[in-house]
Symmetry: C2
Subunit: 112 residues, 2 copies
DNA sequence: CATAGCACTATGTCTTGTCAAGCACTTGAC
DNA sequence: GTCAAGTGCTTGACAAGACATAGTGCTATG
């Protein structure tokens, strides 16, 4: 691990994006803002402990904004900030790649 | 976790790309093919066990090609397949985002 | 002939994510 | 009024994953 990498913004953001669930969270929030449990379900099985941790981190980094609408009954919304929304480009790139290279296993339509 | 996600290629590829070191490995190999130890150093401190595991996986998925030049003194080269090279778009998107949003908040240069 | 390189594998440890449960409270059904 | 189900989380084991480190078998260089 050399020093150059530690200060390379690309290296840093890869480190962020490779954290488990982060990309899924971003992708989900790109669709629309969501509450905690809703997000948890939409994201596909991330457990609340991890999700809370990720959301904290993303909020700290200024990618996600948390809004508390009411304390009691608890109601919260997580939405992307402009910086977070700019990750659309990354998701799009993944999307494009996925459709090209990961779609193949169609091969269904098994006849008899 | 609902069924749709399990068959969504985007979901699948996010799962792949979020594995630790995968994006770093891809990014490094996009520059040029490398040997094992060379790759390990260039990638920035991934330990050999993990690296070997990731490379196996990437090879299985057809993103990386492993070439053994000689067995005894061992010499190997890892390079991206066309499918792997297409991930350039993803790395580029991350690159663009990183330069826009991650360059600022360093705030280092702390004096004494 | 010692050292350093290559490509890895094996080991034990430590960090991370996961699971299940629970908290405090509201809402809606009965 | 009581019950189940929902909200947004937190906590405390536990398992899976990544870590550092050492070692293998061999060559090439000093």
């Amino acid at each position: 691990m050399n020093d150059e990498q530690q200060f390379c913004p690309v290296y840093q953001s890869i480190n962020l994006l490779q954290e488990k669930w982060v990309l899924h969270i971003i992708r989900t929030l790109l669709e629309e803002p969501r509450g905690f449990n809703e997000l948890s379900r939409a994201v596909g099985g991330c457990n609340p402990a991890t999700l809370a941790q990720r959301l904290d981190r993303l909020e700290e980094m200024g990618l996600v904004k948390k809004t508390v609408h009411s304390v009691m009954p608890p109601r919260t919304t997580y939405q992307l900030t402009p910086a977070g929304r700019d990750l659309q480009g990354v998701i799009d790139a993944i999307d494009r790649w996925a459709r090209q290279h990961l779609n193949i296993p169609v091969k269904a339509a098994s006849p008899r």
